[in-house]
């Protein structure tokens, strides 16, 4: 059992987390230390710190145009949704009646709709509810994905465009498509240089962005449209690590779709119960897929014969989950609880461990007499590809001013026993709240956490350490990083958590 109470206190306001070095999280004030931060990241990868607040397109199309587009894209439900959403422009009776019809249609379309209240949400609300992004609907960066093999990433923005940043090329392609609306997730295809899957409101798009191309606006002909009736909005996607299959999930559809992208064919894996699928995560070894549902139930699919195990939760739905690099351990969180659970998969069937590990509630933290208490429910989890750092995005408390959303980072070890040790909090500029985070898939010097902030800034926080699992040749234990000249005196007394590790 490990709790946030063991953490070092959060930084005072105005301090920004820069990096981890020598088992310490270094910080600096946001204004004067900015160059340092850039230099830090620049030493590792060329400047990737981008600012993606863009000018948003005005919603200036007429109602008729939008209705026609909605009819074309989404059929009757699309039309009704459009009319319901634009209630300021249509007569009240029309919007109300179409809203009612829509609710009725949804209710009829899945007979267990009455059991699952999430089916009455509109699709945007549904994405916001089940997305891994904190406050998805007003977030500037709606989705983020590192390429699994090279230093490039894709960012989906609030105006439904996707930008691809590559430090090695001057061009940043912008992807726009008629069907690319309300992007909930993006992911690059493994073992491929160009394919990017995008989960949209009505369909799945797979872009093929030629890395050698100089064009900044790839045409919509570069995108494959994958859609299946009744499978929208898509809130989560996951590529198989071998790059052969893509799975997608929608909270309205009880089936998980397994796509053969090249052939544009899909196999629905239908299981009743749960009322939909909200979040998918493929284990790094490719053997299991986590599929959580809007009700208090999640499934773990085995990918050889595609059978599944049901795991009922006690309190709420499974909000997020992540796999250890060898695919043997699954960490997940449950909505309404401030606890991270761990599931261990071993080769022998029946020997499953389901154990409570971490308490992340803020109440215990208050006992530490901090100026700002932190904690709250967990929005998302992210485990670095070497399995040494675990980042937890805590929602905070939107009502309380002094409990903002924050990222807590744990040090983890899987051998010989599973251990979690506190590392520290990652904080941004004052007023900036973390919305989305992801670890770089192959960072040479440790782990690199990329955080998208509510201000639209994307920063990279490197964690420099020597991996215990990977043998190092000719290195005497000192991390490979450019040292800071001035070292705060606090570094002198080593943290007591390092002693816990040894």
């Amino acid at each position: 059992m490990c709790s946030l109470a063991l953490f070092p206190p959060p930084l005072p306001s105005g301090q920004t987390t820069l990096c981890e070095s020598n088992n310490e999280l270094l910080s600096g004030t946001s204004t004067e230390d900015r160059p340092k931060q850039v230099r830090f990241t620049a030493a590792v990868i060329t400047t990737l710190c981008v600012f993606c607040r863009t000018a948003f397109l005005d919603h200036s199309e007429t109602l008729w145009m939008r209705s026609a587009a909605a009819w074309r894209d989404g059929g009757l439900t699309g039309l009704l949704t459009e009319i319901t959403n634009s209630h300021t422009e249509v007569p009240k009776w029309l919007s109300v009646s179409s809203g009612c019809t829509l609710a009725l249609l949804r209710w009829i379309s899945s007979f267990h709709g009455s059991l699952f209240p999430h089916l009455t949400l509109s699709s945007e609300d549904m994405i916001a509810e089940f997305s891994q992004v904190l406050n998805w609907s007003d977030c500037v960066v709606r989705a983020f994905s590192w390429h699994p093999h090279t230093d490039k990433f894709a960012v989906a923005l609030l105006d439904d465009s996707i930008k691809i940043y590559n430090p090695k090329s001057a061009t940043t392609p912008t992807l726009k498509h008629r069907l690319q609306r309300s992007v909930a997730a993006v992911q690059w295809k493994p073992l491929c240089a160009s394919a990017l899957a995008v989960a949209c409101q009505n369909c799945l798009l797979v872009w093929h962005v030629d890395p050698c191309s100089l064009s900044t606006r790839p045409s919509s002909g570069c995108a494959q449209v994958l859609s299946h009736p009744g499978h929208s909005p898509v809130t989560s996607i996951a590529w198989s690590p071998s790059g052969s299959l893509l799975v997608s999930a929608s909270p309205v559809d009880t089936a998980v779709m397994v796509w053969d992208v090249a052939a544009e064919s899909c196999v629905p894996l239908q299981r009743l119960g749960g009322g939909g699928v909200t979040f998918l995560s493929w284990s790094p070894d490719g053997s299991h897929v986590l599929a959580s549902t809007p009700s208090t139930l999640f499934r773990v699919w085995e990918t050889r014969m595609w059978t599944c195990e049901r795991w009922p939760c006690v309190k709420g739905r499974c909000q997020s989950g992540c796999w250890s690099p060898d695919g043997s351990r699954l960490l997940f969180t449950v909505q309404g609880e401030t606890v991270i659970y761990a599931l261990t998969f071993t080769d022998a069937p029946g020997s499953r461990l389901y154990s409570v590990f971490i308490h992340a509630s803020g109440d215990e933290l208050i006992m530490l007499d901090l100026s700002a208490s932190v904690g709250g429910e967990i929005q998302s989890l992210s485990w670095d590809p070497r399995g040494e750092r675990l980042a937890v995005l805590l929602k905070g408390d939107p009502q309380a001013v002094d409990r903002p959303a924050i990222i807590a980072v744990f040090k983890t070890r899987t051998n010989p026993i599973f251990e979690l040790l506190p590392c520290g909090f990652v904080q941004g500029e004052p007023g900036a709240e973390p919305r989305l985070m992801q670890f770089h898939p192959n960072f040479q010097h440790g782990a690199l956490l990329t955080v998208c902030w509510s201000t639209g800034r994307i920063t990279h926080v490197p964690f420099y350490f020597l991996s215990t699992g990977v043998p190092h040749f000719g290195l005497s234990g000192s991390p490979l990083l450019p040292r800071l000249q001035e070292r705060p005196s606090a570094f002198a007394n080593q943290s007591l958590f390092t002693e816990l590790i040894s």
């Binding site: 390429h147 491929c192 071998s242 052939a263 239908q270």
Partner: protein
């Protein structure tokens, strides 16, 4: 030598049992389907309880049991036809005339007739179960002059003819949509789950297809219905009542209840047949696990390397073996270990050599085909007009050869297999022997040797069915599409080619000069007919036909790349290392050919997907799947080995290409 008995063992021990199991399940599913049909056909909203009790009494009646036995017989027949007609490589008609040829083929004709008869039987059973006005063909009536006699009940007649029509259209659509094509799924599922998953689709497809068929049938009956009616009246000595409306009038056909009964009967008919087909597909494509090596010599021919190597076998055996290879290379470390193992006395990696050699020869074969196709096809997607008279003759000769004699004579593709055995026997000279030219890293243009040109014989002809099933004029399209020029070149440059190549062509011309003569006449007639715009080759179809058997190549690529990836940590003896240059160069050459092919205007156009058909359209997108798999396979090797690949011997051009992959720029 053992190949004949081997094909026997697989068909006898596996395929037949699988087919039998699928038919048994279809028969077992028949009672519930029939019960649902009875309830749906007789249900009335006014008397629900009365209906149900009536249905129950009907289900136990003698006539119901008799018709049930008849239905079982029909299911058995459908299952047998499925087993007889199924194919794992679709026949793709490249032109309209070829499609017409397929439709008019005698074998197809037999199938249509059988389907018609079965349709009538099922419709008769439906008429018995629906009862009421459909029950009998004749009924006693009183003519206007007062004399009692038997009159024709047109309601039953229209139902029986509907059955025949639906059966006939089912068999025609089967040809057009390639319904006998059995595709393999990328997602492995248990049989029950697969069945459950595709059941809604089958219900939807059968209902929609029945609706279309009945619509067409009503139109046909409106115009031509009097012919069968008059014929039946004459042969069975029945009379037409003057009081009743004839049904081939607008008033007679505007009967909603009649339409509903026709539709529900057609749906029942199609549903039972589709279910049989679906079960057959599910059972026959189930993964079969071949042993990698056996400790008993009598089982040696059932081992994976041997099964992959031999040619004269049902194509499904090869497909299942390749599927098993792809799966074992991904999922099973213990079986991979057997692949990498050395033979006990001698220490030769026979398993790996056989498997990799066969996969490479498959891939090289596809490369050859693509290059030859690219040479024959002009950039506008149409065939170049190089079919002069003499060449046409040779192509027809070869097609006849490949159609009949190739089954008996050693096929030239066997040449592709010899390198592997040579390779296995003599490690020293193996990789550099001239026959393995396409796989050696230093010879990057494998198309130089005329002997190898000869090997472009399309795989489609190799399958025993295609050899026997198709009429020569359908067969003709295959060589004409992509090997006409190569064949003629081979004829030109045959003498200098190695003496070891047997000359099946010369032998082939001996057997029957008369047949040859007739064949040539037929060709000339057809040439005249087809020179018009009927024979416009559909460019996309030709591209589909080129990749028709690419599922095998996809598995070969997956199997090879996963094995190479696993060899990085699991191959203790380094057996894979020796083959790495040839694997890489083979993949890169194929990549180049595929890239060139996709530059053709028609190749990258996506086919329209129809979801409302039970026919499997996977073959239409196989080329895209192959392209994606090929790239992934190369990336899998480059990401695993990384910079170590710089130590691999390779030509400069390939190294450049590989560098692109290492930098993730492809």
């Amino acid at each position: 030598m053992f190949s004949t008995e081997q094909s026997c063992w697989f068909v006898r021990k596996v395929i037949c049992w699988r087919a039998a199991a699928s038919i048994a399940w279809a028969v077992l599913l028949l009672p519930p389907i029939t019960a649902v049909f009875i309830i749906l056909s007789r249900f009335s909203f006014l008397h629900p309880i009365h209906t149900i009790s009536e249905c129950l009494s009907l289900l136990t009646s003698a006539s119901a049991i008799f018709s049930f036995i008849l239905l079982c017989g029909v299911i058995l027949m459908v299952g047998f036809l499925n087993l007889e007609y199924y194919t794992v490589i679709p026949t793709i008609a490249c032109s309209k005339i070829a499609l017409l040829g397929q439709l008019l083929h005698p074998r197809q004709f037999v199938s249509s007739v059988v389907h018609c008869i079965m349709g009538i039987i099922v419709a008769w059973c439906c008429a018995i179960t629906i009862g009421g006005r459909y029950e009998t063909l004749g009924y006693p009536c009183i003519q206007s002059d007062g004399s009692p006699q038997m009159c024709l009940n047109e309601y039953q007649l229209i139902l029986l003819l509907a059955g025949a029509f639906v059966g006939f259209s089912h068999s025609l659509l089967g040809v057009i949509h390639n319904m006998n094509y059995v595709s393999f799924h990328t997602v492995q599922q248990y049989k029950y789950l697969r069945f459950k998953g595709s059941l809604p689709l089958v219900v939807k497809c059968s209902a929609i297809q029945a609706l279309y068929s009945i619509r067409n049938y009503i139109v046909v009956y409106f115009f031509l219905g009097y012919i069968p009616r008059a014929w039946i009246c004459k042969t069975l000595n029945l009379h037409l009542t003057s009081s009743a409306h004839p049904l081939d009038s607008i008033a007679g056909l505007l009967d909603l209840s009649l339409f509903y009964h026709l539709w529900i009967s057609a749906t029942f008919l199609l549903f039972t047949w589709y279910i049989t087909l679906l079960l057959f597909r599910i059972f026959v494509t189930e993964v079969y696990s071949f042993p990698v090596q056996s400790s008993f010599t009598e089982d040696a021919h059932q081992c994976l390397p041997k099964v992959l190597l031999t040619d004269k076998q049902p194509m499904i055996l090869k497909f299942l073996a390749l599927q098993d290879l792809a799966l074992l290379s991904q999922h099973s470390p213990s079986r991979r270990c057997e692949v990498f193992s050395l033979s006990q006395p001698g220490g030769h990696p026979h398993n790996w050599n056989a498997i990799s050699g066969e996969c490479l020869s498959l891939l090289a074969d596809l490369t050859q085909r693509l290059v030859a196709y690219h040479d024959t096809v002009a950039t506008n997607g149409r065939a170049k007009s190089l079919s002069t008279g003499s060449e046409r003759k040779t192509s027809s000769e070869t097609s006849v050869t490949s159609g009949t004699e190739d089954l008996m004579s050693p096929r030239p593709t066997l040449l592709m297999k010899t390198p592997a055995s040579v390779f296995a026997r003599s490690i020293v000279g193996g990789p550099q022997s001239p026959l393995t030219a396409p796989f050696t890293p230093d010879l990057d243009s494998p198309f130089a040797s005329p002997a190898l040109r000869r090997l472009t014989a399309p795989v489609e002809q190799c399958s025993p069915w295609h050899g026997t099933v198709q009429s020569p004029h359908i067969m003709r399209r295959a060589p004409k599409l992509w090997s006409t020029s190569t064949d003629s070149q081979v004829n030109g440059s045959f003498p200098p080619s190695p003496a070891s190549v047997p000359s099946p062509k010369q032998e082939a011309s001996k057997p029957s000069l008369l047949a040859q003569f007739l064949q040539n006449r037929k060709e000339q007639v057809l040439h005249f007919v087809t020179d018009q715009n009927y024979n416009v080759i559909l460019p996309e179809a030709s591209s589909q036909a080129l990749f028709a058997d690419s599922q095998a190549h996809i598995w070969a690529l997956e199997g090879l790349s996963y094995l190479v990836q696993a060899s990085f940590s699991e191959d203790h003896f380094g057996v894979v290392q020796t083959a790495l240059p040839s694997i890489l160069s083979c993949m890169l050459v194929l990549q180049e050919a595929v890239d060139r092919h996709f530059k053709l205007p028609h190749a990258s156009s996506k086919p329209v997907r129809s979801t409302s058909s039970i026919g499997d359209s996977t073959y239409k997108t196989l080329r895209f799947a192959l392209r994606a798999t090929l790239k992934t396979a190369i990336y899998r090797i480059t990401t695993t080995f990384g910079d170590h690949l710089n130590a691999v011997q390779m030509s400069a051009e390939h190294r450049k290409r590989l560098q692109q992959f290492l930098e993730y720029k492809e």
